[in-house]
């Protein structure tokens, strides 16, 4: 225990002496959270709509009003000829183009089937498809307008009633920040000792590799805890993400996640010779794939089956589930224990592999 405290004191002293590290530790997460909190949104509002009304009737006017009265669309152009729509779409000034054919009102009044044309800009798939589905929604409502509804559909969205993507993105960003910081720092810390030659000096002392590893990782776990504490007020009070569950659950389930990220950092340090290499390996081999496959941005259920299997070994996947569960659903350990166990298992596995490699490399 005294041995561990001795290493810990040394690590903290070194951190204190590094003038560059403190701003990185405390300012960077806040800035990242704010930038990503605003940018990482998948809500689509005020989609630019270009309209070509060839009917010019009361009915067609009413249909266009149905579009523009919603907050989803903003009419940017009303053109007289259909081919003019192409120009609006090509230039990107419009994302969705609506054409109402001549005879629309007459057909409708006669009860004949009517067709309107929708063109969507697929080059931005997110805006294009969402815009299209909003548009279909508007059309469905408009079509149902005159007829009695046989079924009254009242959809209810649970946990995030307004479906604000910010509410599920921001906790994900928090997870990412913890991962990046703890992994990056732990990988660089060990590589730095090797670069300076102090690692060799440590290994000729009676300190065991295990003690050196634990003494190195504990300070970074503490830093991870400080990061969360700094970032949490921003999540809660700036972005007003509701915290439905308990802080204790959050804290408890953060520990096994950090075990994984610190272990991965250690693993990186056994493969890297320089701090730059450590940074590259962390980023490209471990961080980006984790972010892509964690369900943080892309829903896991939409991935090919093979990739879905891969996500089971991604610690971030479990932690994103934990964060969304605790923040939005207010669930506790009774629901999230499998995630906790999975992270604990992965963490221990990663650490043992890393320790084995650490020994081999130095032995």
């Amino acid at each position: 225990m005294r041995t561990l405290i001795n290493i810990l004191v040394k690590e903290l002293l070194q951190l204190k002496r590094d003038p560059k590290i403190l701003p990185i530790l405390f300012v960077a997460p806040v800035v990242q959270l704010i930038i990503l909190g605003y940018a990482a949104t998948t809500d689509v509002r005020r989609v630019e709509l270009a309209v070509c009304d060839l009917d010019r009737s009361v009915a067609s006017r009413a249909l266009i009003d149905a579009f523009t009265s919603s907050t989803y669309f903003r009419e940017v152009a009303a053109v007289g000829e259909q081919r003019e729509l192409d120009r609006w779409l090509d230039s990107g000034r419009a994302r969705i183009a609506l054409t109402i054919p001549a005879g629309f009102a007459a057909d409708r009044a006669a009860g004949r089937p009517v067709a309107v044309q929708l063109l969507a800009d697929g080059s931005d798939a997110m805006v294009g498809t969402l815009g299209l589905s909003y548009a279909q929604g508007v059309l469905r409502e408009a079509a149902a307008g005159g007829l009695p509804e046989p079924v009254d559909l009242l959809p209810t969205v649970l946990y995030n009633p307004d479906l604000l993507s910010r509410f599920f993105m921001v906790p994900g960003v928090l997870a990412m920040i913890i991962m990046i910081m703890t992994m990056m720092l732990s990988s660089m810390a060990l590589v730095r000792e090797s670069e300076l030659g102090t690692m060799e000096q440590l290994l000729v002392t009676p300190l065991t590799p295990g003690a050196i590893i634990v003494g190195k990782l504990v300070p970074y776990a503490l830093i991870g805890a400080v990061e969360i504490t700094t970032a949490l007020p921003i999540v809660l009070f700036w972005f007003r993400v509701p915290l439905e569950g308990s802080l204790a659950t959050l804290a408890l389930l953060t520990l096994p996640f950090m075990l994984c990220t610190l272990g991965l950092g250690l693993l990186v340090s056994t493969a890297a010779r320089t701090q730059q290499q450590a940074m590259m390996i962390s980023t490209f081999v471990f961080m980006l794939p984790q972010i892509y496959l964690s369900g943080f941005i892309f829903p896991i259920q939409n991935m090919p089956a093979a990739f879905q299997w891969v996500t089971y070994v991604i610690p971030l996947r479990y932690y994103v589930t934990v964060l969304r569960g605790v923040f939005l659903k207010g669930v506790g350990l009774e629901v999230l224990w499998p995630q906790g166990l999975a992270m604990l298992g992965l963490g221990l596995l990663i650490l043992s592999v890393a320790r084995l490699r650490f020994r081999q490399r130095l032995g």
Partner: protein
């Protein structure tokens, strides 16, 4: 330190038997055997890549031997590395203290690493500060210390736990001559107190201060003895010291002459090594015929460098042992 050790002197503190270490196809250390006695200053000489550092790393338990055995302070390096680590001090050729910690913080940390606490740590810390001459600078960050102080601090850190054996891997690289002399005074004191000092160097001056030296070349141990014995073994009549009005011209002239093994300038004298006593007689004639007759010519004493050049040349001339 260990009560189990026999009281009778001389005691063998470090021993290597047919020690080898391979990295893939490369043989870094090739069947090396030697023994080092308690209180001895044992010099390990050789150029870079000769296998000195690899040997030291094996003895410190940092590397496992590929074959052969070695023991340090009575413990086997392959199986009892953990016990060896409490009994050795090690100073690597790269400066390896924490530059961003102060002198005191380094001593406390390394003391703790050697499991020194409380009053014992305080007393050893005081000793190390005094030995390194750093009492006034104890709160200074190590990165701000001049090289000589850093070296002595590194030695102090390696000696905090009073190890019976200390391994110094090129300890005085990049240190000015005065600091180097002070460092070696410290080493003499240690050895006089019974500490075994195992030191690698490629400086002949430093080698002269060792009790015995071993010469490594291409992984093999080519010679091992006291300086006096090594020099005595050098063939008689093969070294000449000559004076010349134009020593550089004389040297250039001799360098191309057959039978001349080495020519070096020592101040205003030319130091010449020839391959046989018969050849020595021809040196004056060769100089005279080249227009550089020497003003004086007399038998010289071989330098340690002459000895090693000859040993390496002889080893290269015959196929491996």
């Amino acid at each position: 330190m260990s009560a189990a050790r026999p009281a009778a002197a001389p005691e063998t503190v470090v021993s290597a038997r047919e020690l080898s270490r391979r990295f893939g196809d490369f043989v870094a250390v090739d069947r090396v055997s030697f023994e080092v006695e308690r209180g001895e200053i044992f010099g390990f000489l050789g150029s870079n890549g000769a296998g000195k550092t690899t040997t030291i790393r094996i003895l410190c338990g940092l590397l496992a031997p590929s074959s052969g055995t070695a023991s340090v302070a009575g413990f086997d390096v392959a199986t009892e590395a953990a016990r060896i680590k409490t009994r050795i001090g090690y100073m690597s050729q790269r400066f390896s203290l924490y530059a961003d910690l102060s002198v005191d913080e380094n001593l406390r940390f390394w003391g703790g690493a050697y499991r020194l606490w409380g009053a014992e740590l305080e007393s050893r810390r005081g000793w190390a500060l005094a030995a390194a001459g750093l009492e006034e600078l104890r709160s200074t960050l190590v990165r701000e210390l001049p090289g000589g102080y850093r070296q002595r601090l590194a030695l102090g850190c390696a000696l905090l736990h009073r190890p019976p054996v200390v391994f110094l891997d090129e300890p005085t690289g990049g240190v000015d001559p005065e600091a180097r002399r002070r460092f070696w005074d410290l080493i003499d004191e240690l050895a006089a107190g019974g500490t075994t000092v195992f030191v690698t160097t490629h400086s002949m001056d430093e080698a002269e201060r060792c009790h015995r030296v071993a010469l490594m070349h291409a992984g093999r141990l080519l010679a091992l003895d006291t300086i006096r014995a090594l020099k005595a073994a050098f063939p008689a009549g093969c070294v000449l010291d000559l004076a010349s009005p134009q020593p550089v011209a004389a040297m250039t002239l001799l360098e191309g002459t057959p039978g001349i093994e080495d020519v070096a300038l020592f101040g205003d004298r030319v130091h010449v090594v020839v391959d046989s006593p018969e050849r020595a007689a021809g040196v004056a004639a060769a100089l005279a015929s080249g227009g550089q007759p020497p003003t004086a010519i007399e038998p010289g004493a071989p330098s340690l460098e002459d000895v090693f050049i000859k040993v390496i040349r002889d080893a290269g001339a015959r196929p491996g042992p």
